[in-house]
């Protein structure tokens, strides 16, 4: 089990989510963060006071995956989040001791496999 943490550009979120779904990764937790790296900084002016904004808005993804999924998840993110400009972000892979699905108490692999029930409903869209 690994926990994959990626910091990506805001405007890439949708593409990355799509790529993840195509890679059959269905569970993901997202949050808004701010990053500092090699990017150029914004200058803003308020009533004659100039400020440099050191932090850029980014999005952070956190995905718990079982071993067989690590590679494709990483690949999906790396591919879909890239623009080639400085500021594309970083991807971290962390070891994970244990995962639980809170609803059922299922552990590890079982905890991150999508509930089959959802599949039926797909037809209802």
């Amino acid at each position: 089990m690994k926990l994959i943490v990626a910091v990506i550009r805001q405007e890439k979120l949708r593409e990355v989510l799509e790529a993840l779904f195509r890679a059959e990764v269905r569970g993901v937790t997202v949050s808004g963060v701010q990053g500092h790296g090699g990017e150029l900084e914004r200058v803003e002016t308020y009533r004659g006071t100039r400020v440099k904004m050191e932090l850029q808005e980014k999005v952070r993804l956190e995905i718990g995956v079982s071993e067989p999924f690590v590679e494709r998840t990483v690949a999906a993110i790396l591919r879909s989040a890239r623009t080639g400009e400085v500021g594309d972000g970083k991807l971290f892979v962390l070891p994970l001791d244990k995962v639980y699905r809170i609803r059922t108490g299922e552990e590890d692999e079982a905890a991150v496999t999508p509930a089959p029930v959802a599949m039926d409903e797909l037809l209802g869209i």
Binding site: L17, E18, R22, R26, V30, V59, G124
Partner: protein
């Protein structure tokens, strides 16, 4: 319908001459009172949780539509057309016979008077919403508004302002202390009781999500209230000036006293409290505005802070989830104002002499007016809500409450960030189908790619 429409379109009733100065003022006053309803929306909307802000705003905004239409169709007539002691007649149904000349109300166009009174009906109904926010079904609320404005508001307005029994009795209500505030306050109390508490009430801290909106609303309410009170003179004369001054100075006093009580109790002056204090001062001076001296208004405003302050303090310790304290602010404030009118009113300023000027009987009449309005409003509101409940559930389920009424009732968020939002092309979701369920099953990867790129 066609003939009725055409024939009533064709009618322009004559009237007495109008005066431009008075008309100018009544035009503005009417616009000011209408503005109070959006203002109330923000006053209330700031006090609820983020997930219910649109629903709370909509409870005020929709009142402008529903009550406005009901007023044109029958409300005005029931309140102000010649009638009996209890209710007006049907002469002005569909505004038939309403023209552009002056009349008993003053040297201003009849139609403008209809508008002015319409704005009062609208805000009165909207006031009640504060008691049922975050849980009432919006459809039931819309129906409630239409019925209540006709069945409760119109007759009560008739009693006091349309020549009904309270007018004949000699009870004073300059701009709506009983008609508007006691009436709405009691209805709110009853509605909160009938609807029951929010599921989180008393368990979780339900905080105002935007206190700046509460202040924005209070500021705009004060502004609009000059139309409400000084406009009630229905002329740009000395009485209007008196009512204006009292509407300025009474809330000044209430605000100062409110801040002092806050300071004494908490050593801090809350902003939501200050906004509330302003509104309570405005409510309290409403029945008295054209009848008491400015110094009397100052005293009245100062005194009126106490009952409402402590009512608001006490209410959360009870089982009563009058969520935004409509009763404590408007009901209590209106009652105190109506009674104090019986104390401070003065013939020399345009009222009847009150207790302080040697006439205790006025106070008795005031008390009777308060009781009568409270009783009728209470009973009728229960009846309407219980009746409605037979047809449609009045409140949302606990799950829907959790989701928030913005999503459930309006399918929107107040402050959407758009992260993770995916366009759904109309073809994908058949019209009418998913509807109120609000929830569809999760997107497959197909879902994502099916977004038509080449619009």
């Amino acid at each position: 319908m066609h003939t009725t429409l055409v024939s009533s379109l064709a009618l322009v009733a004559p009237g007495t001459p109008i005066r431009t100065g008075d008309t100018a003022w009544l035009l503005v006053a009417t616009a000011l009172v209408l503005l109070m309803t959006p203002a109330l929306g923000f006053f209330y909307g700031g006090m609820v949780r983020t997930k219910n802000v649109l629903n709370t705003l909509m409870m005020s905004f929709s009142a402008m539509g529903v009550v406005g239409v009901a007023w044109v169709l029958v409300g005005y007539s029931l309140a102000f057309a010649p009638g009996g002691k209890w209710v007006g007649g049907l002469d002005n149904v569909f505004l038939r016979g309403v023209g552009l000349g002056g009349g008993s109300w003053g040297a201003t166009p009849h139609l403008l008077y209809v508008c002015y009174q319409a704005t009062f009906a609208i805000i009165t109904v909207a006031l009640i919403s504060g008691a049922v926010v975050e849980r009432m079904r919006f459809g039931a609320y819309l129906a409630f508004m239409a019925i209540w404005s006709v069945v409760v508001y119109a007759p009560v307005a008739h009693w006091v302002w349309g020549g009904g029994w309270l007018a004949q009795l000699g009870a004073l209500d300059f701009a709506g202390g009983t008609v508007v505030h006691v009436n709405a306050g009691v209805a709110a109390l009853v509605a909160a009781t009938v609807l029951g508490r929010r599921k989180d009430y008393g368990r979780q801290a339900l905080l105002p999500h935007n206190a700046t909106y509460v202040l924005l609303g209070a500021g705009l309410l004060w502004f609009g209230w000059f139309g409400f009170n000084a406009g009630s003179a229905l002329a740009a004369n000395g009485t209007a000036a008196l009512a204006f001054a009292n509407t300025l100075f009474a809330p000044c006093a209430t605000l100062v006293v409110w801040m002092l009580i806050d300071l004494a109790r908490e050593r801090r002056t809350t902003a939501v409290g200050a906004a509330t204090g302003i509104v309570v001062g405005l409510v309290a001076i409403t029945p008295a505005a054209g009848f008491v001296s400015p110094l009397g208004a100052l005293a009245l405003g100062a005194v009126a802070a106490f009952p409402s302050y402590f009512a608001i303090l006490h209410r959360p310790r009870t089982r009563l989830d009058d969520s935004l304290d409509v009763f404590a602010a408007h009901g209590t404030g209106g009652m105190v104002g109506a009674l104090l009118t019986g104390v401070f009113a003065q013939a020399v300023w345009g009222g009847t002499d009150g207790l302080l000027f040697g006439n205790p009987s006025l106070l008795a009449k005031q008390a009777l007016a308060v009781l009568a309005v409270a009783a009728y409003s209470g009973v009728a509101t229960v009846a309407i809500l219980r009746g409605l409940a037979l047809v449609v559930p009045l409140r949302r389920t606990a799950t829907e409450e959790s989701l928030g009424l913005d999503l459930v009732e309006h399918g929107e968020e107040g402050y959407a960030r758009g992260e993770g939002a995916v366009l759904v092309l109309p073809e994908l979701v058949p019209v009418g189908a998913p509807a109120h369920g609000d929830l569809v099953s999760p997107l497959s990867s197909q879902g994502f790619t099916s977004v038509e790129e080449a619009l």
